[in-house]
């Protein structure tokens, strides 16, 4: 074992980044092999917060297990819930009321916006600029308050139930969303001035953490990571769910494959999310927010797989049902897990500082990887 020696025969230094490290955003543990400051190998060690959500779900009913999935990718908890609900609904073949669909999509996009805002601040912080973090949190706070108004919680909302959403929208929701959009648009130039246009930031990200399109497919990179490499992988466009096929929005694709491309994809996605919200906010149909469902849900025997686009990429929910009231086996194909597997490939040959930029633009959320 080379790790036990602290060095290998070529005199390379083996150093731990994490589990308690300021830039791993949680308890990711990377063992990196350095030659000078050049990275030769990155090996993730996982499992520090593995809670075996898949096993937990096996003993929870189809209504109950959805809330657990909020704790996977806590930054897009609503979208995780959405994926699970869609899978259950696919099994039960329930029609979702139009109002519930619109509400779900609106909340999805707000969640995505909040997640990307946090990512933006955290990335800048990883690269040494502290101030942008506070600016992005100011805007994110507004979204959290919107969520709190309607769902009663800020992060793990548990707003989605099979068949619709748990509660109707708050009466102030539309007004507050419009107010948020107006404020956000007036502040967005600061994002360009502080980070996007900053020459140091550009130099830190351009050409860093490169992954080609072929490798991105092979490594299963999805979401902004895949789209930064020119891979069209937006589930909302490719396999539209809910009302995404009726909406006008662009799939942001950059061909650079480096951290800068991934950065631009995410920033572009923020704009697209705003576009979706703007389209929907005045057109929320009246009607029921929840379809009538039985008290105890029982999925028919078989396999069900749904995919949704979380803020980090493609989330797959795979339910194997034996016909009972609890799932027989659940597998979550989490986007972070596949994206992390490409980290070694991306960061080889770079400096330690590059690793931070690569990790930052992969937007790793550790509970999503560990589940």
């Amino acid at each position: 074992m080379l790790e036990e020696l602290g060095t290998n025969d070529q005199g390379d230094m083996i150093i731990n980044i994490g589990p308690q490290h300021p830039s791993t955003h949680g308890v990711l543990h990377l063992v990196i092999t350095l030659n000078g400051e050049t990275i030769k190998k990155v090996e993730p060690h996982l499992g520090y917060i593995h809670r075996s959500i898949e096993k937990m779900c096996e003993s929870l009913s189809y209504r109950q297990f959805i809330y657990v999935t909020s704790r996977m990718d806590y930054l897009s908890s609503h979208i995780n819930n959405h994926g699970c609900a869609l899978c259950v609904e696919k099994g039960l073949q329930i029609e979702i009321p139009a109002r519930a669909q619109v509400i779900r999509v609106l909340m999805d996009e707000l969640t995505r916006l909040a997640s990307h805002l946090l990512w933006w601040g955290a990335l800048a912080m990883d690269l040494g600029a502290f101030t942008p973090f506070f600016y992005s949190f100011r805007e994110r706070e507004m979204i959290n308050e919107l969520m709190e108004d309607t769902c009663g919680a800020r992060l793990t909302m548990n707003y989605i139930v099979p068949g619709g959403v748990m509660m109707d929208l708050h009466p102030d929701f539309q007004r507050k969303v419009k107010e948020f959009l107006r404020l956000f648009k007036s502040k967005i130039h600061e994002y360009d001035d502080l980070v996007t246009g900053n020459i140091i930031f550009q130099n830190r990200t351009k050409g860093v953490g490169y992954i080609s399109r072929e490798d991105a497919i092979s490594y299963g990179c999805t979401g902004p990571t895949g789209r930064g490499s020119g891979l069209s992988c937006d589930i909302r466009k490719l396999y539209p769910y809910e009302i995404y096929d009726q909406l006008q929005f662009d799939e942001v694709i950059e061909t650079g494959g480096d951290s800068w491309a991934r950065y631009k994809v995410r920033v572009g996605e923020m704009v697209q999310s705003m576009r979706i919200i703007e389209q929907l906010i005045d057109n929320i149909p009246e009607g029921e927010f929840q379809a009538k469902t039985k008290a105890v849900l029982k999925l028919p025997k078989g396999d069900f797989y749904t995919r949704v686009e979380t803020a980090r990429g493609e989330l797959g929910v795979y339910i194997v049902s034996e016909g009972g009231s609890t799932p027989y086996r659940i597998k979550f194909r989490s986007p972070g897990f596949s994206n992390l597997s490409a980290l070694d490939h991306m960061s080889r040959g770079g400096k330690i500082g590059d690793l931070m930029a690569t990790m930052g633009t992969l937007d790793l959320v550790i509970p999503d990887i560990d589940r």
Binding site: E3, G6, G11, N16, H21, E37
Partner: protein, 116 residues
């Protein structure tokens, strides 16, 4: 005050630092356990020795710095008398910088200025 001031300032620095450390030594009653003595490596025990052979690239900077800084020291006496000497000093410095620049180019071409 003259050169004695250096002695006084050095003493002041030592008194200040040692005083602070002593005060904290007096006040703090530490406990001892095995974990306290471990080096910090993100919560994982450090394995192996830290004092490795480092890449020679790190030391190249020191060497290049040495060369350039010695040249820089030569410039100080020159700088004080530029205005008195006039154009001759200007010619001197151009020749001096030309040689320095050649050395700089050489170091650059050899890749000595690249970080490892």
């Amino acid at each position: 005050m003259g050169a004695t001031s250096l002695l006084i300032l050095t003493l002041a620095a030592i008194v200040f630092s040692a005083g602070g450390i002593l005060v904290s030594k007096i006040f703090v009653k530490g406990s001892q356990n095995a974990q306290k003595g471990q080096a910090y490596e993100c919560g994982v025990p450090t394995v192996g020795k830290t004092w490795l052979q480092l890449n020679v690239g790190y030391y190249l900077f020191a060497l290049i710095f040495l060369i350039f800084d010695v040249e820089l020291v030569f410039l100080y006496p020159w700088a004080t008398v530029v205005k008195e000497i006039g154009w001759m000093a200007f010619l001197d410095i151009i020749i001096f910088f030309f040689i320095l620049f050649l050395g700089f180019l050489y170091a650059h071409k050899k890749g000595a200025l690249k970080w490892m």
